[in-house]
Symmetry: C2
Subunit: 389 residues, 2 copies
């Protein structure tokens, strides 16, 4: 079976973009293409998988074809993949399978979202539909509220307080302050984050990721062509994906995500690695509590010890065994929904090629993981990467 | 490389459904499952790909996971695939690649749409966004208008008049009158169809497909498990997909679809068959002119002779070499957008197993083709099937 490598990756800065969707996608694609140092022309691309949810409030349609006609991918087989905030994590998986299938040698996976030209009402709507509608959204539960319930229950079950979440926020803002692609590039003090404006008790402003505009694009290639395209491919060593019930009340526990556990177990097994062997992980911290829970679900901390993991700054760059969200994560790098999954890969690509160039670089990074979640855990895609196959 | 078979297929009746989206999907899935005569449990399903566009006007989200949690596919990797009206044609292709990749043995592809609880305005909106927005939709061009332009130009370029389109309508209504799953199960006379209410000159009501509710579901399996699941698998012998510019003005010709030509050329080559060897084809006749053009693009008639093909009733069941739209097609069977592509496979599955049971059965059918188009040709997926591999 063919091995699959990431040979190029690029993204727009995340934030509030004045430019339109097509221009944003073209920028991300163009950056991905120009990151390929060897033999490459866009005509080599066989297929494209593009993740997006609202696509600017559904103002445009046939999204994938619309984007690719403007970015040098004319005429190829393209499709939109939509799984709420895990859209481009699944686009990546499907692109990887397309190469594994032997039907394609070079495949693009990417994502895009434009949130900041929506009214606050439409923004809330498009975020809301990513979760359960019948029991949660229509009863008034927003996403901060959903994760607030999970946080409260987590504090009840385990040795943890809101202070642990503050540590996550401080760390991710610290990492993000060194990332020129991040939406929010500034440090936040413990005191400031601890005393933030309350959004949904116990979550404050500093526990919630921003809603960002952004696009990200990665180029995957089969092993027999990857080596011609770059001397430093980043190999996809494992892929796992899973789903779960949408509504919290339908799950046996709301302090763990079964979809993350299933997806990561599969990805680790395929990669022949366990959590202790991962040098850096980009995890889906839409809210700080999500990072604490992910640290456990992905095996970086034992069950119930995610709070302590955060408190002890074990995820800070080059502090512990595994750096968590060296990019700044969704909290600081930003969260352009459909773009987030492949945006995580952009970070991993740079990190594993040792190209970050600031103290955000994880030293001697050899292995990495991305963790992309849809809704409050209804869908999840996990990928494991390595400098070696 | 593993061969892939359709081992089960089912759908709701197309039409105006009082039931909700989840119930519709569960019905289609349950029918697909119960069509499997051998060894099968839903737990055997590894992945699911589900096509939908509006999903009831985007009232619900994380669509794929929402549907699968209610249909015996709990926890597996699922995603929504969206390519306008070609959504489930691409879901089928991606499901096929998932098995080809060796990562999955049993995969579900399906689609769903609920159009009839939308207001006329929202219906027009969700149909409209499947085409070009900037140059066409926002200028007031609707889909009937788009295809009317193509029809007018076709009559100008070729030996054809509106009467040829009437023949398509009469034929598809005749086929659909024998299909208990069809939205419109009645014959239409030439006179009635010729004198229909004008929608967009030259297209009348009888040139336009209805907007339907419906769900369809097919189960694919790798060769080594397919044989345990059924004695009469239907093999996917070829798959091709392509994209094109969204706006008509961006294409060298508006009387042919380049995406159809590219996709079918690939699918035929993979199958080792040409158009003359196809016994039946389910083609994307969202408007009658689309069937005329598809007959040419797929190679059933020479360029410019699609009108004559229709006029001579060459596509009528058991009349010519290839039966076109034995199910009734989108015109009579109906068009629940995201469900249409895999709905075409439901027909092919029955036809190639010789299970239709009415005079709609194509005699001794050995090979078949499905043709699923998104927008006015911006995306297209073509699949070739056979009783033999």
């Amino acid at each position: 079976m063919v091995d699959v490598a990431v040979v190029g990756a690029g993204q727009t800065k995340y934030g509030n973009h004045p430019s339109g969707l097509k221009a944003m996608w073209a920028e991300a694609a163009s950056k991905a293409f120009s990151s390929i140092d060897g033999d490459f022309k866009p005509e080599m691309i066989d297929e494209a998988f593009i993740g997006t949810i609202a696509f600017g409030g559904a103002q445009l349609g046939n999204t994938a074809a619309l984007l690719t006609e403007h970015s040098g991918m004319d005429g190829i087989a393209v499709r939109r993949v939509e799984n709420a905030c895990a859209s481009s994590g699944f686009a990546l998986r499907d692109a990887w399978m397309a190469i594994k299938s032997g039907q394609a040698d070079v495949v693009v996976a990417g994502g895009i979202e434009k949130m900041n030209d929506l009214t606050p009402e439409r923004k809330r709507y498009w975020l809301g539909v990513s979760g359960d509608t019948e029991w949660e959204r229509l009863a008034g539960l927003t996403f901060p509220g959903t994760y607030a319930l999970m946080a409260r229950r987590y504090f009840h079950e385990h040795d943890s307080t809101h202070d642990d979440l503050v540590h996550v926020s401080v760390k991710n803002h610290h990492h993000g302050s060194m990332n020129p692609q991040a939406h929010i590039q500034k440090e936040v003090s413990f005191e400031k984050a601890a005393g933030g404006f309350m959004v949904a008790d116990p979550l404050t402003l500093y526990d919630c990721c921003p809603t960002s505009d952004g696009a990200s694009c990665v180029v995957l290639a089969a092993d027999h062509v990857a080596r011609r395209m770059t001397d430093t491919p980043v190999w996809i060593r494992g892929s796992g994906a899973a789903s779960d019930r949408l509504a919290l009340h339908d799950r046996p526990s709301i302090t763990q995500l079964k979809a993350t556990q299933t997806a990561s177990t599969k990805a680790y097994a395929m990669a022949g690695l366990d959590a202790t062997q991962i040098d850096l992980a980009e995890v889906h911290d839409c809210f700080t509590i999500a990072e604490v829970i992910a640290t456990e679900d992905l095996g970086f901390a034992p069950r119930g010890a995610g709070g302590q993991f955060a408190r002890e700054q074990q995820g800070s760059v080059n502090q512990g065994n595994t750096t968590i969200n060296a990019s700044g994560g969704l909290k600081s790098k930003g969260h352009p929904l459909g773009a987030t999954g492949t945006g995580q890969v952009v970070e991993v690509f740079k990190q594993l090629r040792h190209e970050v160039g600031t103290s955000r670089q994880v030293r001697d990074a050899e292995t990495a993981l991305t963790h992309n979640v849809g809704g409050s855990g209804a869908t999840c895609a996990v990928h494991v990467f390595g400098r070696e196959r």
